[in-house]
């Protein structure tokens, strides 16, 4: 590809694209805070997995219940 081609495509692209305003129009912190609160309120999947394993363990060996209670 010659240099002229390169420049012509570049010019074409610039003409086809409208400039954007890079300035942020509002403070996004309130949205960020909401996102943090939403995510923190949810229980992670691995916590559910651990709970499931614990229940399974107790079903399989009910004798473990007193041991577990002793350690709590």
């Amino acid at each position: 590809m010659n240099e002229q081609n390169y420049e012509n495509i570049e010019k074409l692209l610039k003409k086809a694209a409208a400039p954007v305003n890079p300035e942020l129009q509002r403070d996004l912190w309130p949205h960020m805070l909401r996102r943090l609160e939403e995510r923190q309120a949810g229980v992670p999947w691995f916590d559910w997995a651990l709970l499931g394993l614990l229940i399974l363990w107790l079903v399989i060996s009910p004798r473990a219940i007193p041991v577990l209670l002793y350690h709590l």
Partner: protein, 184 residues
Amino acid sequence: MEVLEQPTELLEQFAHGELDAFESLFRQFQSQVYGWIIRIVREPGVAEDLTIETFWRIYRARARFDPARSFGAWARRIATNVALDHLKSGYAKAASSETSLSDDSSRVVPLDPGIRRDIRERTEHAFRHLPAKLRLVATLALIEERPYKEIAEGLNISEGAVKTRVFRALRLLRKRLHQLGVEP
């Protein structure tokens, strides 16, 4: 994007998960991160969402952040990845079939009248169908005229790799424009 340096103490507090430190960094860097993302995705609403997503990833990765390094440069790399994920996503493809390089309702600068509508549409079509990695680099280098060094830092690649991607984007564009009957 200018990279501001932060006091190490603030960065250490952030790395330890202190919300006040994160808020302080968010308020200082949100404009820069947004300014970087909008140049790539070119839609203000999407850019705001992706700015939030960027800071969410930053917050989640806080324990891995080294306070001795530049927060701004780290944030820019994450922002670039977030924008790239967006360009790769099906949402971006669907959106781009309705919106385009020039379809931005909040823009203040009018479209260039020195280009025919059909030529503009075919150019946009060819550009939209570039692979996301090439589109990102071509947008920043050719449309936004950002320095190769800045693009390389944002993508965590060498300047040589940026030049290669720009060249590949131009070559693909020329081929697709030719197929669409546009001879640049």
